[in-house]
């Protein structure tokens, strides 16, 4: 083929430009440590890296969410453990007040302490999280969920349970509302509660109330009255006034009927009655309020002492239920904190995997790139060398 100096020159320039452009791209890859710097160099990988980056950012957000939930749940757990301590103190005070040798001044002092505990409990129920939101208000988090009035503490929150997302498809409740924690506490033994009528004139004091046959109790209508028809004699009637059983009373003995059994001590008078009803929900603060009210000094008769003893017994039952409730909620919180910890370690490894994926697609194979750079460099210098050699060739030189 006939070759001219012009086409030689043009061909050389094109070649050199291509070589320099390739060299520059390799250089760019090495300096940026990326195997591609624009999407066109590897479109599929560019899209995938974008997806992985999004997944990574999302996973990191899940971590943030989990930390936020962890903080709130830990605060709640600490708060509830303090509630437990306070309830334990209250229980000790109630036991102390149950001692019949106490003077009314002593009892008043105990009442004062109980009031203080009531205030502490109220403050705990109005705990705020790091953002100033009330922990136990449900979704009503900007105002204190509990306020105290003469009638007791009232709950102003709602039943909202806030969730946060800690993984794709996994949400976790990051707090519990006051309704679930403090309001829905069963009374009595959890199945039924026994109480003495306030009109009782005898000294009958209720002791342990328990289920002897749960199925039998559940089969009945649940509401019963133990009526003393004569000293030492009682009958048990249900809510329709149907007679369930009769018996003769022994001090400290057990009265059993319809799957339930209660112990009764002291001397009930004729006409005294004791009621058994299915446990309902009672607010922790109602329980405390009732105890404080019962401890207030009153008439110093044997009947009022029995009434006090019955109130304290009922309060002790309810405090026990509340303590159980706190343990249950705390166990639940513990479970959630565990899931968070598990999820955190899972997401940690997910993030490492995602970063590895990104790195695999995007990071430069240095050995390969440097080899390529060397090759390109060699080719370019050879091309330049060839040019300078051939450019010197001209017949005109020899004329």
């Amino acid at each position: 083929m006939r070759v001219t100096q012009n086409s030689n020159q043009a061909l050389f320039l094109t070649t050199i430009q291509t070589l320099e452009s390739d060299l520059s791209q390799t250089q760019n890859q090495i300096t940026s440590n990326k195997s591609f710097t624009t999407a066109s160099q590897n479109p599929t990988a560019a899209g995938a890296v974008n997806n992985y980056n999004q997944a990574l950012a999302q996973s990191q957000q899940y971590d943030t969410n989990a930390n936020s939930a962890q903080t709130r749940l830990s605060t709640e757990d600490t708060t509830l453990s303090q509630v437990q301590t306070q309830l334990q103190s209250l229980r000790d005070l109630a036991l102390e007040a149950n001692n019949s040798t106490l003077s009314s001044q002593d009892r008043a002092a105990i009442a004062t302490q109980a009031t203080q505990i009531q205030n502490s409990l109220l403050a705990l129920a109005n705990t705020q999280d790091g953002n100033g939101e009330y922990l136990f208000g449900g979704f009503v988090t900007q105002s204190p969920p509990y306020t105290l009035s003469a009638a007791g503490a009232a709950y102003h929150g709602d039943q909202g349970q806030r969730q946060v997302q800690i993984a794709a498809g996994q949400t976790i409740t990051d707090s519990d509302n006051g309704n679930a924690v403090f309001e829905q506490i069963k009374t009595g033994n959890g199945t039924f509660a026994a109480s003495a009528a306030s009109s009782n004139t005898g000294t009958g004091v209720l002791g342990v109330a328990s289920l002897s046959n749960g199925a039998q109790y559940a089969a009945g209508n649940g509401i019963y009255a133990i009526n003393f028809t004569a000293p030492g004699t009682y009958d048990v009637r249900d809510s329709t006034n149907a007679l369930i059983s009769t018996g003769s009373y022994t001090d400290g003995g057990t009265i059993s009927f319809a799957g339930a059994q209660v112990t009764l001590s002291g001397q009930p008078a004729t006409g005294d009655s004791f009621a058994v009803a299915p446990s309902g929900n009672q607010s922790l603060f109602t329980t405390v309020q009732n105890l404080v009210a019962a401890l207030q000094p009153g008439a110093n008769t044997s009947a009022s002492t029995a009434q006090l003893n019955n109130s304290i017994a009922s309060a002790l039952n309810n405090i026990d239920r509340a303590l159980e409730q706190m343990s249950n909620v705390r166990a639940d919180i513990g479970g959630r904190l565990n899931s968070i910890t598990t999820q955190q370690s899972v997401s940690g490894s997910q993030q490492i995997q995602l970063q590895a994926n990104i790195s695999t697609l995007q990071s430069l194979d240095y050995a390969g790139a440097i080899t390529t750079l060397t090759q390109q460099n060699t080719t370019l210098s050879a091309a330049l060398q060839a040019y300078s050699l051939t450019q010197g060739l001209s017949l005109f030189k020899y004329l």
């Binding site: 624009t38 479109p43 997806n51 806030r162 997302q165």
Partner: protein, 632 residues
């Protein structure tokens, strides 16, 4: 004796001419468009002395150029193709680089936006987290706006380059027509011999023209070259030119189309597919505008999903959430050729069915037809185009202000301007709807063991949505809502009423009561914010198969592949072009070594001819001398 002188002189003259032509070749070795020339030598007419005929020397019969029309045509075609791909590559590369940074930024800001929803969910009452969400929304909107304004500026650039190309094409064609006239005259004067310099210039102009726009040429018998463009629109015929002109697009006056002064404003853009001009037009229709549409599709979907999520919940003040984003209304522009003033308006009815295409709506013979602008394929359309019964197709509905005149056309662009017009319209962070609209709760005196779900919004437009409702169980399996008809309880089944939905699960007992009421005041509720954050994993586009963030990744891959494909095609065409150039050069180019050899050859021939003259002279002198000696 006179023969020797005559022959020698003719040789000296011929070789001088040959040396001149060779020198001219050397002088023009680097002149663009110069075709190597050769001197054509012919023997002189023989003279007979009665016995034999003796040649009478050499004459220069012409100077011819080395030229191959086939190779030149091949080069011109190749240059047109290369010009088109290079122009296209210029834009696809800019978009590729743009999408490395701006779109990467868009992707990051979208992710931050969704994450900010999570932060609001973590602290729904916190103004700081709400403000941060609005900030992230702003940066998402800015990213879309930036990307679209960069694409729009590419379109502006295309327009200005189209104008520049058209100007340059017209000046070249007018130069060709001038050369045509001169060449025709020159051929006539030189007795059929074309003036090489002028033909060289004309070929060079045609070559330059072919880089700008794909052309075809024909040669007339008188030596004039005719140039045609597109589907055969003449630019140069003999000494006449027809100017290429730019006209505004019939639907979009800001986009220039190509026409000629003979076409009365009708555009021929679609037939111009090669050369720089073809590349510019292709870049606009196949690279820039589709990218704008796709970006707009994502922006429209984002705005729609975020806003509808907002509408499902309540803000800090207990009001339904306000829209966070707004996108401009989709475009429907009437053709400038329409004969009446009927206007079309478009709205997006279903983001999932929305495509990134543009459509042409035409009204002909009392019926509407919709075609995809990219490929002209027919799109099924239903409805009558009235407000009561709009035309609907592929997630959009079109309403016309009146019945259009026959032949009216409208360009429908559902997504073209969405990215540019995406704005954050919410300024008050308290108006972010983090809370659900309703809240369900169970009465504390319920004796059954059942729980109720929080309550989800099904239809935020239901006027009774926030009205309190009571679900009362008359026994374990029967309930009624607000004292209405008895319904049978299904454990965990959906209970829908007043536009909300709850599920009750477990074992309710007779007398159990659940209430569903407005969630106003529940500033700690984060359910709607939670839904907003998880919306990023919910498929929206392409009938719910593509998430918004996924669509951005797909956009990056798609545009990257396009750029890669164009780069590959351009590199291949560049190689083809180098081949074509080399093959043209191998015929027409000047090889200096060859010319040096020629010079030597002509020099020696000249010296030989001069020597012949000297010998003739000495023969003549000898003759004179001997005549003198005889007589003296």
């Amino acid at each position: 004796m006179s023969d020797v002188f005559g022959i020698s002189v003719s040789a000296l003259q011929a070789f001088q001419a040959a040396i001149s032509v060779t020198s001219n070749n050397v002088a023009n070795a680097s002149t663009p468009g110069y075709d190597r020339e050769r001197v054509n030598l012919t023997e002189g007419a023989p003279q007979s002395n009665g016995v034999a005929s003796i040649g009478s020397g050499v004459v220069v019969s012409g100077i011819s150029r080395s030229f191959s029309q086939a190779a030149a045509n091949q080069l011109n075609t190749s240059q047109s193709a290369l010009g088109q791909l290079t122009a296209l590559q210029n834009y696809s590369t800019q978009i590729d680089n743009l999408f490395g940074t701006t779109i990467g930024g868009l992707s990051t800001s979208l992710q931050s936006f969704y994450n900010a929803f999570s932060d609001v969910a973590n602290a729904p009452a916190s103004t700081a987290s709400r403000q941060a969400l609005l900030g992230k929304a702003q940066s998402v909107a800015s990213s879309f706006q930036n990307a679209s304004s960069e694409l729009n500026s590419l379109n502006t650039d295309v327009n200005s380059r189209i104008s520049a190309d058209v100007t340059q094409i017209n000046s070249i064609t007018s130069a060709i027509s001038t050369l045509n006239k001169q060449i025709v005259v020159g051929i006539a004067q030189n007795g059929g011999q074309a003036p090489n310099e002028l033909v060289d210039q004309r070929d060079q102009l045609v070559s330059n023209l072919s880089q700008l726009v794909g052309i075809s040429t024909t040669m007339d018998s008188n030596g004039a070259l005719n140039v045609f463009v597109g589907n055969g629109q003449a630019l140069v015929v003999q000494g006449q030119t027809t100017a290429l002109t730019t006209v505004p697009n019939q639907f979009n006056a800001s986009q220039l189309e190509i026409s000629t002064s003979a076409l009365n404003g009708n555009e021929i853009s679609s037939s111009i597919t090669s050369g720089d001009l073809g590349g510019l037009l292709t870049a606009r229709t196949e690279v820039i505008n589709p990218a704008l549409n796709q970006l707009g599709q994502v922006a429209a979907a984002l705005s729609q999903t975020v806003n509808s999520q907002q509408a499902d919940g309540l803000d800090l003040k207990g009001q339904f959430g306000a829209a966070i984003f707004s996108v401009g209304t989709p475009q429907a522009t009437a053709s400038s050729g329409n004969t009446d003033a009927t206007a079309a308006s478009v709205s997006v009815t279903n983001v999932g069915a929305l495509t990134a295409d543009s459509y042409v709506l035409s009204y002909q013979a009392g019926a509407y037809s919709l075609t995809r602008a990219s490929d002209g394929s027919n799109v099924p359309v239903t409805g009558a185009g009235t407000a009561g019964n709009p035309l609907s197709a592929e997630g959009i509905s079109i309403v016309l202000s009146a019945t259009p005149a026959a032949g009216d056309r409208f360009l429908v662009q559902p997504t073209a301007t969405a990215a540019a017009s995406l704005k954050v319209v919410l300024a008050d962070p308290s108006k972010i709807a983090a809370a659900g609209a309703v809240q369900a709760s169970a009465s504390n005196s319920n004796t059954g063991a059942s729980i109720i779900s929080g309550g989800a919004t099904l239809d935020p437009t239901n006027p009774s949505l926030l009205n309190p409702a009571t679900i009362a169980f008359s026994n374990a399996t029967t309930y009624s809502i607000n004292g209405g008809a008895n319904q049978t309880y299904t454990d965990g089944g959906n209970i829908d009423f007043n536009g909300w939905r709850v599920q009750i699960s477990g074992a309710p007992a007779g007398g159990d009561v659940f209430t569903v009421k407005s969630n106003a005041g529940a500033t700690g509720d984060n359910r709607n914010a939670l839904a907003g954050a998880s919306a990023q994993s919910v498929g929206v586009l392409a009938n719910g198969t593509a998430t918004i963030t996924g669509a951005v990744s797909a956009l990056i891959t798609g545009l990257g592949s396009q750029a890669q494909q164009i780069n590959t095609a351009q590199a291949a065409q560049a190689a083809v072009n180098t081949q074509a150039l080399t093959s043209v050069q191998s015929v027409t180019g000047v090889n200096l070594d060859e010319e040096a050899a020629s010079l030597l050859q002509w020099q020696q021939a000249y010296q030989a001819a001069a020597q012949a003259l000297a010998i003739g002279n000495s023969l003549f002198a000898t003759l004179i001398h001997s005549v003198n000696g005889t007589s003296g």
